[in-house]
Subunit: 339 residues, 2 copies
């Protein structure tokens, strides 16, 4: 049987409350008493019971992190930073996967699992304003990503402007027929919608015609899904001048499909991504992409969550994290490649 605070108290010749005082450190304790208690803890190899503690003070020290799919390199890197940053703040992280299931998102938001976690960081796929409203009494939540709502705290990168910037960059590199890969079909992905919007805005600024045939639908945001979608597309359509993929994972799949068909990047077509994951930087050719600091996203999200937990009546805030476009070989024009 594991020793309890009572056992420690008995051994140290004090009351259980004193043991608690030593542990929490909020009330002062005589150095002598403290020493005796700490020694008793050592001897008994005492570890406080977490459940009892959270029952008593209503805090578990655990936060939830809900992501669509942990196996995506982008999500994995995000999770890595959140786990790391949370650990530094003394928080544990429980991972939940929503598997692109809107129902699961609403479930997590509304109530489920409450009180095992003190708060939730949610990276939704489709969550819209209506879904947020469902949960009348929300647990402390911070939303991550390009979901369009303002009823909760959130951290995001301005995907509209970023997508517009990327579109204009590709045009500046000489592309006229610029396609996007990852447009949403049945899934209604908030991220896809945002980036498509930015792409269209970019085209409008450039005075380029909008051609919906250049918006390649692909709901499965994996290299496999992307390769299949692009291969099928190219069987029916002309090769565009550039393909702006809505994530690096999509871009990796695109590079694969193009290579299979003997199409050279960037000579025959330029390719760009979004997210700046490691495997994109080291792809062949390395990917031009939209980069942002995932560690900062993690820190800001945890800051907000901590404030929200402390005070649930705060006005919801939105934090916008900076991005920048990193140009790599996948979009080099002929002149710069001559160097």
């Amino acid at each position: 049987m594991r020793p309890t605070g009572k056992d420690v108290a008995r051994r140290a010749g004090v009351s259980p409350k004193t043991v608690s005082n030593v542990l929490t450190g909020v009330v002062s304790v005589t150095p002598r008493t403290r020493a005796r208690v700490e020694q008793a803890m050592q001897e008994l190899n005492y570890v406080p019971n977490h459940s009892a503690r959270s029952l008593r003070n209503g805090r578990s020290g655990l936060i939830g992190l809900a992501l669509p799919d942990l196996s995506t390199p982008y999500s994995a890197d995000l999770a890595h930073h959140i786990v790391e940053a949370a650990h530094e703040r003394g928080w544990g992280v429980q991972i939940e996967e929503t598997g692109h299931d809107p129902q699961r998102e609403v479930e997590l938001m509304s109530q489920a699992r409450t009180n095992i976690i003190d708060g939730l960081i949610l990276n939704p796929v489709v969550l819209d304003e209506s879904a947020v409203k469902v949960g009348v009494a929300l647990p402390p939540v911070v939303l991550l990503g390009e979901v369009n709502q303002h009823l909760t705290d959130r951290v995001w990168v301005d995907g509209v402007t970023a997508a517009s910037d990327m579109t204009k960059l590709l045009a500046a590199k000489g592309a006229r027929r610029i396609a996007v890969l990852g447009a949403t079909g049945e899934r209604r992905s908030a991220t896809a919608i945002t980036r498509t919007e930015g792409y269209r805005a970019g085209l409008a600024e450039l005075g380029f015609p909008r051609d919906t045939a250049l918006e390649i639908v692909c709901d499965d945001w994996t290299p496999r899904g992307s390769a299949e979608a692009l291969a099928a597309y190219l069987d029916q359509h002309d090769l565009p001048d550039a393909i702006f993929c809505f994530t690096d994972s999509l871009a990796i799949g695109a590079l694969n499909a193009l290579s299979s068909k003997g199409i050279r990047v960037p000579d025959d077509v330029m390719v760009a991504g979004f997210d700046d994951i490691d495997d994109g930087e080291f792809a062949n050719p390395p990917l031009t992409t939209v980069s942002f600091d995932r560690r900062e996203v993690a820190e800001r999200a945890l800051d907000m969550l901590a404030r929200r937990i402390a005070n649930r009546d705060r006005t919801p805030e939105t934090v916008t994290v900076d991005y920048r476009i990193i140009e790599r070989a996948s979009t080099h024009d002929r002149i710069s490649r001559k160097n």
Copy 2:
């Protein structure tokens, strides 16, 4: 204030115990009573308090998953399957990162955080027999991967034989000078040691001389670390006929370094990986690799953990998960590429 079981009981006109009976379902309850209680729960939007429940029955319904680095695609995919499989069994998963820190591994093993989690799945980097012995009273633990010990349950793939097989495959493809990339320097990685051992055994079987200059050290198992290590190596050494990278992430970095130097794969040098991650399948060229079913690893690990939690005195078991080598373009010889 959140409603408690007592509130539900009052509203339904029953005792708290009856509410509990409805919830746990272990004692039979009159359909009429059950219906009344369930209605009361609905009306009050009742969610049982997790802390109280775990305090009472000594189970949290949470397991820990400790990995070196969640941002590695391999770890991410593993975590994905474990989270998914655990969810199906009604378990939550708390993620811990050991950051390649042996101290943190021992910490997790020995006692820390006990009783917030019912058990631990640990994918160690360096953990050896001695470290396991430290924890006299271990919590229920299942070890993942090629760590060399037999005092706890574990699930692994036979990396020795797999590495040997890969070495022989590369030889069969015509390679004579076969290098490995990812050999351990200061880190003493158990996985690196195992795979190096298999590589050497393969060479011995082939009657090839062992040349330690072909064992390229790289402790940082990321594409970046790999690209740097290989670039530096090639500045000082001749190009081998084949490079067997100890993970696909290393191989992706290797492809990048080779491409930067204008070295063609597989024409000038063959490259192979280990793990079969998506980004390797869609790399350019696609990677030959050692593949195994991560979902099965997850299921087996959870099976064992459940058994261990139920009975802590069982004899430790080892489960070996099958692997197979998948040949892709990164090792195609000239003849097969002619097809």
